[in-house]
Symmetry: C2
Subunit: 205 residues, 2 copies
């Protein structure tokens, strides 16, 4: 089609992205065609900077613009707890929950500048080293509640055995807002096994 080779290349590029099918890719490409050049360049520049200007924090392995990330260098955070997560996305989710004030350690934050295999092993060694510090009292395992995540949790626990640090993991049970009739066997098993005594306000007086 006339002039559509370049547009076709853009459509192809967009459709490699997750959740973008052929139709969405076409809509996006025609949108780029119509948008002001400056806005389009903001997108390309944002992509380039994410690829070129981000690296890993040398302490926690999270993505960072500096050698030490803003969480690790934040003196107001609780420095006696390290929460172990699989990827930077998980850190974001936990931070947004506002339920945790300690430090983090990212296991598999593989992103392109450091895509070499074995980065997980490197990160694990680093975690062991950090856990040896007298400052650290607890390592919280926050890997995904699935087969792979549980395997990772086991591996991390074994590696930390020698350090004597207290290892905990996130609670399992019914997700708030869910409905029991739709929960699968594993969830219900976790919920039953992990049940706790139910205290009313009166009991606590």
């Amino acid at each position: 089609l006339a002039g559509e080779r370049l547009l076709g290349e853009l459509i192809d590029a967009f459709s490699t992205l997750p959740g973008i099918g052929q139709k969405s890719a076409e809509r996006l490409a025609y949108h780029v065609l119509k948008m002001p050049r400056s806005e389009a360049m903001q997108i390309t520049e944002a992509i380039r900077r994410v690829k070129d200007d981000l690296r890993r924090c040398t302490l926690c392995q999270n993505i960072s613009e500096e050698e030490i990330c803003t969480i690790c260098s934040d003196e107001s955070r609780e420095r006696n707890r390290i929460c172990v997560i699989e990827q930077p996305k998980d850190l974001r989710a936990i931070e947004e929950s506002g339920s945790y004030q300690g430090l983090y350690h990212v296991l598999g934050a593989s992103f392109s500048p450091l895509e070499e295999r074995g980065s997980e092993q490197m990160s694990l060694d680093k975690l062991v080293e950090r856990s040896r510090s007298d400052e650290v009292e607890e390592v919280i395992l926050a890997t995904n509640p699935d087969f792979e995540g549980d395997g990772t949790a086991l591996l991390v626990t074994e590696s930390l055995a020698e350090t004597g640090v207290h290892v905990t993991r996130l609670a399992r049970g019914l997700p708030t807002g869910g409905q029991i009739e739709y929960m699968n066997r594993s969830i219900l098993k976790d919920a039953v096994e992990g049940r706790s005594s139910f205290k009313t306000a009166q009991d606590e007086e």
Copy 2:
């Protein structure tokens, strides 16, 4: 969040795109973080080329890499018919239908290098000029079958009156594959008013 200023900027950039909400934008940004740099650069390069290397065909105003687009310069096309469309997307749809072999004229192909107002007027003047050619026998109006499209069609017809060219417009009626019970009043009105005699194979012998 640590290192997330750049990622946040990318999320913001993605969420300006149509059909990309906050959650999709986050998923895309983390995908870019993980993908090989070379793939990410393919996307930015495709965007840049669409903004920098595309222009309008000086004849039909469709997007083109050259001064004259591949359709206008294709000698095998029927040069006695011009199909008038609102935007390049519409050209793509008609071409994909395989039902038309003539030339096109794009009215409002506004994209950034030429975003100045009045480009529609410029394009209309061009259409009048093209229609004056002895070669052109028919101008087919293929604006959208809605209020705005009908208005545009009227405007184009008025402009072409002086040229004496035969002006037609695309048929209105029931969309093949649809169900009469779901058709609105306008569609049914068009279908009734535009009814044609029903010929069986026998009749045609």
